[in-house]
Amino acid sequence: MLIKQLSLFVENKPGSLYPICKVLKDNNISIRTLSLADTEQFGILRLLVKEWEKARDVLSEAGFIVKVTDVIALPVADRPGGLAELLEVVDKHNISVEYMYAFTFGHNQTAVMVFRFENPEETLKYFHAENIDAIEAFDLFK
């Protein structure tokens, strides 16, 4: 299953992340993880939150540019070559990774790799065929 990621435009200057976190806090929305891609002048903040629709609405209302993107969250096995197994599938089908980032969650500190592909639906099937199942939103935000 695909996960909804929120992407926000931010300027690369002091204090530009705080207002975003403040809006989420005021609306009682907790962040599962975030990743920031930045240049000297601006950046893209990528967020995973449980109530993505509510988060999108409150952030948009507060004047931020928010875009919803489908990403795939895959578990990374805690052993040598764990990540290689995932990338092997990507490589086999000649798919390019637009970007990726990692985090851990849950009691067991499960390692997760979030991938952004051009065709997430199709790519998901390739993983499924190799018996690699994406983490469901239900589990991710439990």
Binding site: V10, F42, I44, V66
Partner: protein, 443 residues
């Protein structure tokens, strides 16, 4: 009375030091001829008819006030050649000046016009120290811009040698300056400051160069900049004025007394008007310059609104002996034109480029800085949800296409900055489009 800082030389004393009454008679004669020439153009034909003007009804210079005003917009409306009054076979040169939007406006020259232009340049060059035995270096771009060629032919008239270095490559400019023992340099004042800095960094001293004179034009500058440049380089810097729509450089220039720029009055009638009422202002009062070309054949322009703010002086005689009216350095503009690295740029051009790119908000702010001594132009553009991407390369592509469009239209590379929605200041609903931090304000 101001003292002369260098030996006083006059290129054409018969015109520059002419008896004033005699000059007025010459101006009236030429004004009538100019009206004759302009009458073949649709624009003036229509205007003259409306106002009941013919050359023989112009009996004194005061009648100038009855003539129609010509604006940049009028030139644009008749693009490309609607203001050309001669047959194509008579044209020998076409230059262009930047327009308020993508299209430039053309200005044409006959053989006589080129001769007139170079003569006018020769006059201010000689007034500012140029002699035939000198070596000069032109660090203006050669091209559509009138600066490079105008000065080139003016120097040829005087008979000095020219190194047509063109603009850019400061290291090479300095090498030429030093090795060719250059006496006179033609560039923008900000570029001279840049050269001064590089020379200092290279450990060269004032005495290592033969450089004595500089003629500056093409951008606004201040008296403080003059002092700084003269002190750093041990040279004398002279100011000159002109604009492509009229002829290019050569409308006026400073003499050895440097108490304003002498207007080449036998070829240009210059009025100083209140920009609101278009009524003349008193001597020494600030107003907008409105210029009529008296001798031009290809483009006989009448009462052109320059948008340049200046002051005129004519009562006090100049110690150099010239009897012509003088104008102060240009203080600013009555429109929003910016001069960036010597290039005329309008905010509307930037706006046009942004519209072409599409998908970005019409909210933008141009910021101008002068870190070192060269202009830096930044344009901040508010991001729109439609164009925002979660992928960095998409945003970089957007930035690149903005850069491409802006430089295609203006000829200037801006530092493109994408900013958050609603982050740019709006005052009273009206967006502010330019913030100039270069410190060029003159009081």
């Amino acid at each position: 009375m101001a003292e002369l800082i260098i030996p006083n030389r006059i290129y054409q004393p018969e015109f520059e030091c002419m008896d004033r009454a005699e000059r007025r008679a010459l101006q009236l004669k030429r004004l009538k001829e100019s009206i004759e020439r302009a009458s073949v153009l649709d624009f003036y034909k229509k205007k003259f008819k409306e106002l009941g003007i013919t050359a023989d009804k112009i009996n004194s210079l005061d009648d100038l006030r009855r003539l129609p005003i010509t604006t940049k917009q009028d030139l644009r409306d008749y693009y490309p050649f609607g203001f050309f009054a001669v047959d194509r076979s008579k044209l020998v040169r076409i230059h262009a000046s930047s327009g308020t939007t993508g299209k430039p406006t053309f200005v044409g020259y006959t053989k006589n016009d080129l001769d007139l232009w170079s003569t006018c340049c020769a006059r201010f060059l000689v007034a500012g120290g140029l002699t035939p035995d000198q070596v000069t270096q032109i660090a203006f771009g050669y091209g559509l811009f009138t600066g490079g060629f105008g000065l080139h032919y003016g120097i040829e008239k005087v008979g000095a040698a020219i190194i047509p270095a063109s603009s850019g490559n400061t290291q090479r400019q300095i090498m030429l300056l030093k090795d060719a023992k250059v006496d006179t340099v033609i560039c923008t004042p900000s570029y001279a400051l840049n050269i001064a800095e590089v020379i200092k960094a290279q450990g060269l001293k004032k005495g290592d160069l033969a450089w004595k004179f500089a003629h500056f034009g093409g951008e606004q500058w201040t008296e403080e900049m003059r002092l700084k440049i003269e002190d750093a380089l041990g040279i004398y810097a002279f100011n000159n004025y002109g604009l492509s729509e009229i002829i290019g450089p050569g409308v006026s220039g400073e003499c050895a007394a440097r108490t304003g720029m002498h207007i080449q009055e036998d070829h240009f009638l210059v009025e100083c008007l209140n920009p609101e009422t278009l009524e003349p202002v008193a001597e020494g009062e600030e107003g907008e310059l409105v210029i009529t070309a008296l001798s031009k054949e290809a483009c006989p322009i009448i009462r052109y609104r320059t948008r340049d703010l200046s002051k005129l002086f004519w009562s006090e005689p100049c110690p150099c002996g010239r009897t012509t009216m003088r104008m102060s350095r240009v203080k600013g503009r009555t429109d929003d034109m910016m001069i960036i690295r010597g290039v005329n740029v309008f905010p509307s051009q930037v706006e046009e480029a942004l519209m072409k790119v599409g998908g970005i908000a019409p909210h933008y702010l141009i910021e101008l800085y002068r870190p070192g001594n060269l202009d830096q132009a930044v344009v901040k553009i508010e991001m729109l949800p439609e164009t925002f991407s979660d992928k960095m390369d998409e945003l970089q592509k957007l930035k690149n296409s903005i850069d491409r469009e802006i430089s295609a239209i203006t000829g200037i590379h801006f530092d493109i900055q994408l900013v958050a929605p609603n982050s740019l200041e709006r005052t009273g609903g009206k967006a502010k489009h330019v913030a100039d931090y270069r410190g060029l304000k003159i009081d």
